[in-house]
């Protein structure tokens, strides 16, 4: 029952998100423009035809329901800028992005969490300040600069993209888990564990992490959405053929069917991750 309710909520978010995205795109400036129009070789007739195609979409509700109707047959429409079925485009690029995000989330967590742990072990020492500075530095360096620097050492653009997304996640994971771990370390049972003479690793893995696990998992859910949004600049800068790059191209060419489909995808992934984390937090709270 709870599962069905969650499913319904996700579906509703996706539908409403799609409609709003549709409206945002159609009413944005340049929606009816087409880069091909600048070509002096085109005749007036062709221009007319291109215009007509796009002006249909400005009748919001009817065109959105047309889109949904197509969707119910598994048809996401055809991308206007790339001239290919959206479903094909998505299925071509999905694996790339999912692999990137998957690896990046793991890597980002490893880095962020270990940085947080180092800082927790060395509270008050210069090492802690250095850790905080490192996370600030990662927040402050533009993704493009990071990407170009990485390419000097890493040959593969896909690997570089993983690192860019991971390094974007690291400071966020660090900030929250650092706060969380500090809190955890401040609780009396940790004091007692120390008084028992337990080693720092044992305390970490048996006394600090398990109680914080629920919240860390919640954060992990959110970091999937974070990774998704960080993958857009990473893929654009590094020309990695994934969803992020596709989204950027679609935005620049006001490719309505593609953009609405991508909104669906982002809403689906984001809302599902959030629902999952909510569920875990709730479980943690009720147990």
């Amino acid at each position: 029952m709870a599962f069905l309710r969650t499913l319904g909520r996700v579906a509703l978010v996706v539908l409403v998100g799609g409609l709003l995205a549709h409206a945002l795109i159609v009413f944005a400036p340049g929606y009816s423009a087409d880069e091909r129009e600048l070509d002096p070789g085109l005749t007036a007739e062709t221009r007319e035809a291109m215009l007509k195609e796009k002006s249909q979409d400005s009748r919001l509700i009817s065109s959105y329901s047309r889109f949904l109707l197509g969707l119910s047959h598994g048809d996401f429409g055809t991308s206007r800028s790339l001239g290919r079925p959206v479903r094909e485009l998505l299925s071509d690029r999905l694996p790339t992005t999912l692999t990137t995000i998957g690896k990046a989330v793991v890597l980002g967590w490893l880095l962020g969490l270990s940085l947080a742990l180092v800082c927790c072990f060395k509270t008050g020492s210069p090492i802690e300040s250095a850790g905080i500075m490192t996370s600030n530095l990662l927040l402050c360096v533009p993704a493009a600069v990071l990407a170009l620097l990485l390419l000097i050492w890493v040959d593969s653009r896909a690997t570089a993209a993983v690192w860019v997304v991971a390094l974007a996640l690291t400071p966020r994971v660090f900030r929250y888990s650092y706060n969380l771990l500090r809190q955890s370390y401040d609780s009396p049972h940790i004091l007692l564990a120390k008084a028992k003479g337990l080693g720092p690793l044992r305390i970490l893995f048996h006394h600090v992490l398990p109680p914080a696990a629920g919240q860390l998992i919640a954060l992990a859910g959110v970091s999937v959405s974070l990774g998704l949004s960080a993958s857009i600049p990473a893929e654009v800068i590094l020309d990695v053929p994934g969803i992020g790059q596709l989204a950027w191209q679609a935005a620049l060419s006001r490719d309505l069917p593609l953009l609405v489909s991508l909104t669906f995808f982002v809403a689906l992934v984001g809302t599902t991750a959030n629902a999952m984390s909510d569920h875990l937090v709730e479980q943690e709270a009720s147990s």
């Binding site: 402050c140 991508l262 937090v281």
Partner: protein, 269 residues
């Protein structure tokens, strides 16, 4: 020595306020005979591709970004605090409505709203005004993610004894909300603030590709950082033009100094 962060910050602010005197070249003067030169006596950080004094651009750009990015971060964190706390504190129905809207908000391509707003502004609007609006909108749009985190935090607080105590004393819910809940999620909000500060500065730069950032010839931290991207192009050693790193160094320094002073304040309170 304990006040060092504050002193350094004050010095930085002072330097930026004195920009017109410290950098007499101004940020838009093009010295076309000195294109992309390295640091000299006249140009402390060298010049950019149009022969403009980088040092001046850094100072003037800092004034803009140092004012606007924290403002945007504050706006988004404030919204997140109120909305997130309200979600946790209010009834089931309002809570699920808020969660619903935050989910929707997180998945929308807000870029198009920014484009629309920019498109609706008159063309000859002053760059300062347009950038203020851009930052403001960025701040207004940034509530959804942090609001979820705030909500989780408030729910923890709601279980605590002092909220129970407050209820037992018959304190009105609104007062409980503003006096007992909001002050206690401060650490969460502060963490969020520090994360979003550089993020807003960088998103301003990234919006440049869509013409939504500050326009020529105004400098901002965003477009100064952007300069790094083409220059690091690995055609040279990234440190060959160290003066280009100045904006990053300054940004990291300011963010860290602000954090240090805030931590110290927290420690002594």
């Amino acid at each position: 020595m304990k006040r060092l962060p504050e002193i350094l910050l004050a010095v930085l602010v002072l330097v930026m306020l004195c920009a017109p005197w410290l950098a007499p070249n101004g940020y838009e003067k093009q010295s076309r005979d000195f294109i992309a030169v390295g640091p000299t006596k006249d140009f402390l950080l060298g010049t950019d591709a149009l022969g403009r004094d980088r040092f001046a651009r850094l100072l003037f750009g800092s004034r803009l970004s140092l004012l606007l990015a924290p403002a945007a971060a504050a706006v988004s964190v404030f919204l997140a605090a109120v909305i997130g706390a309200l979600a946790a504190f209010s009834g089931k129905r309002l809570e699920s409505a808020i969660i619903f809207f935050s989910d929707v908000a997180l998945s929308l391509p807000w870029l198009f709203l920014l484009l629309t707003i920019r498109g609706a502004m008159p063309l000859d609007i002053r760059p300062e005004v347009s950038i203020v609006i851009t930052f403001l909108v960025l701040g207004l749009l940034g509530w959804a993610g942090p609001a979820r985190i705030v909500r989780a935090g408030v729910r923890l607080i709601l279980k605590s004894d002092y909220i129970f105590q407050a209820k037992a004393m018959g304190i009105a819910p609104s007062r409980t909300f503003f006096r007992y809940i909001l002050p206690n999620i401060k650490p969460l909000l502060i963490a969020q603030f520090w994360i979003s500060l550089p993020v807003f500065i960088l998103s301003e730069a990234n919006l440049g590709a869509l013409g939504l950032s500050v326009s020529e010839p105004m400098p901002s931290w965003g477009n100064l950082l952007k300069e790094l991207e083409s220059q690091t192009s690995a055609l040279e050693h990234p440190l060959a033009n160290w003066q280009l790193l100045a904006p990053i160094v300054l940004l990291v320094a300011v963010v860290s100094l602000l954090q240090l002073s805030q931590q110290r304040l927290k420690g002594s309170s």
